[in-house]
Structures are given as structure tokens and as C-alpha cells.
Amino acid sequence: MTPALAQFAGSLLRASTWRLALRGLGRQPRRSGVVLSAVAIGLGSLLLAMAIQYGLVAQMAEIAIRSEIGDLQVHASAWKDSAPLAERIAEARSLAALAREQTLIGVAPRLRGEALAQSPRASVGVRVLGVDPVREPRVTSLASLVREGAWLAAPPRRALVSRVLVGGGLARRLRSTVGDKIVLAVQDAHGDLTSEAVRVGGVLEAPTRELDESVVVMSLADAQRLYGVPGEISELALAARERSALEAPRAAALAALGSGVRVETWREREPMLSTMIEVFDQMGWIIYAAIFVGMAFGIANVLLMSVLERTREIGVLLAIGMPPARMVAIVIAESTVLVMVGVALGFALGFGGIYALRDGIDLGSWGDGLRAYGIPTKLMPIARSGDVTAPLIVAGVTALIASLWPALRAVRTRPAEALRRA
């Protein structure tokens, strides 16, 4: 460390440097107040806006995961979304293999297929989702979405006529309600056309348009019988103990199930949503940096005005022997006080706003439109740890950059010239 740098670092640690900085700022309280307000209001608004936006994306991901996807999914290696029945895995063996996996808190076997749903009044092409009535609620919130009727009965309490659940949108399209019979016409796994009359046992309040208008949920056993694949499933939906660390359960599932399957995280199943979250994380830094770069000009302007107004005083300080490094430290301290007090007030405003909106922002009046895109109708602002660290780091850099020019201006003051000024 050079002597000047050591002197500068030592100066920053001196209480008198900060005392001079604070009192210097106090000389023009209105001007300092305007800068503080700009930093505080700017950061506070930004924090709130970021929390709302992140809340939106995070809730969209939560909806996708909790309504259908799960944290991880297991399929046969060659399985495709477009032909869900073509590649299957053995139900009992898969469940047994994962039964003791500690990184998982739920394993839900499913059978996926396609069907034509017919009521006496309409016909609609649908996706069939066969689920285990007991295991499914440990992975997704499908069971809690039942608005009318009841969740699927667990075996052996099956009715003679299979019961199915449909979204409110599909019920409207079929013009059917709870208790009505509909017919599901399918091509089974062997290529044969077959159909079965089922009864609408419940209507779901689905959070996405897909689930609302195009999906019929039935018990796994009924679906296996309908498609002629007893003991076989299309996929396993898995709930991990920790969603933030999915690599461990993925590896464990792969090891337990052996070759012939692939395990995908929800991010791989919903790449667009995943990308949105990743982009949002990066955008946070960029937005904070952009805002603070703008603020840096304002802060530099205020500090420069302050330095120019005090030319004579700075001349005196340099004349009595203040080292140039100490002068730089005082200007940087002024900048740091301005920015950090502004950031503290901004945190108070921003997090205060987030707390005030902790019960969520009701977007119910746009409910149908929002559901089409899997957007929640009650928006919960979510603050992240990055909302504290990013502004602090960016603000620290801003304080430094904003003070460089004024500090250089101060340190270049020639004492004799400064003292000549009236």
C-alpha cells in the first residue's frame, strides 16, 4: 500500500473526517435534503416495483409448480409431450425405488392421455390427467382447487361410474356441472378406440387457462383402465424437500430409478418461466445500476457546488497542513453520508411499502385475462436478500464515483489562490 493510500485509509477511519463531512452537509440542509429525498424516493419506489415484479414472476412459477408440474418430473427417456401415452414407466417399481428417498417429500404417479369429452350439448378435445388421489396432494395443490364437489376418492372407495374433475372453463364449454355425466372417447395405448361415461365429481378453480379449459383430472386407476395400461404411468411428479437445491434429488432419483428415465426440474419443464426469473435476477442489478448512475450525477453536482463554495476554506485546510489524501477522504465521506442515509431512508420507504402490501394487491377484476397467462390475481410483493445487497453495493460504488470529481477538484486547490479569494 502506498503512503498516500495508507493515509487515505487512515483518514476514512478518523471520526473527525466524518464529523467534518456531516457538518459540511448540514451547512446546506435544503440542498442535502433534496439529494437525500431523491435517493430515498428513487430507491424506495424501485424496491417496491422490483418486489411487485419479482412477486409476480415468483408466483407464476409457484402456480406452475404447485398446480401441475411439481419440483421435478420423471419420464421415460423417449417420452414426448405430444405423445404422452407412447412411452411409459412401471408404477410400482418406480414408487418402490423412490420410497426411501430423503430429499423428496412427495412422489405422485400420473398417467397422461388425450380424449374427446362429450356432453349432451358439446364436445371438447381435452387432456386427461390421471392422478393418485392420496399421493397427488403431497406434490401439487390440485386437491385444494376443488370449488364445487369433492376431490377424487381413494381406492377402494371407487364408484361404479368413474368420477372426474374439470376446470370451471371446461364445465362451461361442456355446459355440465357437478353430477352430470360426460363421455370420454379415447384411443387407448393399443390403438383401439374406446369410450367411457364418467360423472363430473367436482369443478376446479384452476389458476391457469390450460387447466381451466382443457384438462380432465381423474384417478390414476381409472385412467389406467381407460387407456388399457394397468400398472403403468407416464410420469412421476416429485416434491423436493428444498426447492432451491434440486440437483441432489434429481441425482438421487436418477440413481434409484436406473437407466431408461430422465429427470427434469421445473425450470426445464417451464423454460420460459425459468428464463424470466433468471433475466429478472440480472435485470435487478442493471436497473439498480441505471438508477444510481443517474443519481451519481446529481450527487456529484451537489458535492462540486459544495467544494466550489468552500474553496477558501479548503485552501485554509490545505495551508495548515492537511494532507491531500485527508481532503479526498472528507469529500468521499460527504458523498457516502449522502448516499447511505438516502439508501437507509429508501429501504425504510421501500420495505415499508412492501410491508403495507403484505396482504397482496387484488387484481381480481382482471382475473380471467390474467389466468390465461398463469398470472396470479392476488399479487404479493416479494423482497429478496438481493434487494438489500444490490442497492448497498451499487450505492457504495456510486458514492465513490460521484465524489471523485469533486474530491479531485478540492485536492487540486492551490492554497495561495484560494486564500486570495474574498
Binding site: 503512503p3 498516500a4 478518523r14 473527525s16 467534518l20 457538518r23 459540511g24 448540514g26 451547512r27 477558501r312 476554506e313 485554509v316 485546510l317 490545505l318 495551508a319 495548515i320 497542513g321 492537511m322 494532507p323 491531500p324 489524501a325 485527508r326 492551490r414 492554497p415 495561495a416 486564500l419 486570495r420
Partner: protein
């Protein structure tokens, strides 16, 4: 060896393309313990010479040395360190730091020198007591009269135990009674502490109190009157 030495020093200023010689070939030696006045009308070069002796400015030609050290050979930081260690300043317009109290103003120089907090606080109060301002230690400059501010400035100048105190027109903004008291104070500090005082003035009542008077006119020394008896 002279404490301060100017050897054929000239200083030229250029303002809007017009060159002015503020000093021309000045040679002057200041001995330890002197109480010396630079006298002369406005524009005679008094402040310029003080600034050169105070390492606040550099001569256009010639050499200035302090305790035998040629100031031209030192960097900005080294000059600052030298001012801090060996020089005290008193300015015409007092020039105290307005956001610091009298005590803090005096302490500040000692803090720059690295004195421990308790020691510098005690010494600041003692020096303020010496200039008769102990009871105003916690007042800020704007709460004091001109004479009081100038006494704080002197306290600040001597608190760091300098070899030389350079005072530029220290009584110019004071009434005659206050100016007289200030000169009394400077004289006492010179006598009791042995601090060299070099001050510029054009006030005849102040000039007559100096034991050596160097008269300047148009940037040149026109008289150097030694052994002027102290009043």
C-alpha cells in the same frame, strides 16, 4: 542558520494575459525567535512573500528554504507535512473552519499531527486559555467577534508548536483597541515561547511594535530596519 531564507526570489502573475511581477529579486533571511514585520502599501508584495515563505506558492525564480530545506524540491504532500510540522498561519480574514467550535478548530491541527484525543483536547483548552478564550471554547466562529476569532486563529497557529507563525495582515479587520491587544498577545507568545513571528501589515501602530521591519515597495525590499526596540 536562518529559519526562513529567500534567495533572489521573484514571482510573476499572469492575469488575463497581463503579466505582473509581484516580487523581484528579494533576498531575505529570518532568524529564529524574531518578531518581524513586512511593511509596505497594498500591492507591494507582502502577502506574496508570506505565501512563498509558507510553502503555499512557488517562486517564478529564486529559492526559498525552511531550516535549510529547499522548498522547490518537495512534493505537495511533503510541503503539506512541512507546513503542519513547522509553520503556523494567521490570516487577515481569520479563516476558521465555520462548522467547528473554537476548541475543535485548535484541536484539528494537532489531530492532523497525530496527537492522541485526550492530549490534544487538554492542550487546545490550555492554548485557548493562553489567548484568553477558555470560556468560549465551545462557541463556533460565527458566534464570536472578529477579535475573538483572530485570537482563536492565533491559538490554532501556535497549538501545533510551530517554528514560525506567518500572519498576513492579522489586525486589518480589527478595531485599534483589539488590534493592540492582538499584537500584545503575539509579542508575549514570541517572548515566552520563542516562536518566530513574521507578519505583514501596513498599519503604522503595528509596525512600531516590531523589533525588525522589512519594508517592501513594488516587489522589492527597500529597507530592512533591525534592532527596533520593543515597546
Amino acid at each position: 542558520m536562518a529559519t526562513l531564507q529567500a534567495e533572489k526570489v521573484s514571482k510573476r502573475y499572469a492575469v488575463r494575459g497581463i503579466e505582473t511581477w509581484a516580487l523581484q529579486g528579494v533576498t531575505l533571511a529570518i532568524e529564529p525567535g524574531e518578531f518581524i514585520a513586512l511593511a509596505g502599501p497594498s500591492g507591494s508584495g507582502k502577502t506574496t512573500l508570506l505565501n512563498l515563505f509558507g510553502a503555499l506558492d512557488a517562486p517564478t525564480s529564486g529559492a526559498v528554504s525552511l531550516d535549510g530545506q529547499d522548498l522547490a524540491l518537495l512534493s505537495r504532500s511533503q510541503l503539506a507535512a512541512l507546513r503542519l510540522a513547522k509553520l503556523g498561519f494567521v490570516f487577515q480574514a481569520f479563516n476558521l473552519i465555520p462548522v467547528l467550535s473554537a476548541r475543535e478548530n485548535v484541536e484539528f491541527v494537532m489531530e492532523l499531527q497525530g496527537s492522541p484525543a485526550a492530549e490534544r483536547r487538554e492542550r487546545a483548552l490550555a492554548v485557548l486559555g493562553e489567548v484568553g478564550l477558555a470560556e468560549l471554547a465551545d462557541k463556533r466562529p460565527l458566534e464570536m467577534s472578529g477579535g475573538q476569532q483572530q485570537r482563536v486563529a492565533i491559538a490554532r497557529a501556535i497549538a501545533s508548536s510551530p517554528r514560525v507563525v506567518l500572519a498576513d495582515e492579522p489586525t486589518a479587520n480589527l478595531d485599534s483597541v483589539t488590534a493592540g491587544k492582538l499584537i500584545d498577545l503575539m509579542e508575549r507568545l514570541n517572548r515566552e515561547r520563542g516562536v518566530t513571528f513574521l507578519f505583514s501589515t501596513h498599519d503604522p501602530r503595528v509596525i512600531e511594535r516590531a523589533r525588525r521591519v522589512v519594508r517592501l515597495r513594488d516587489g522589492s525590499v527597500v529597507a530592512d530596519e533591525r534592532d527596533v526596540p520593543a515597546s
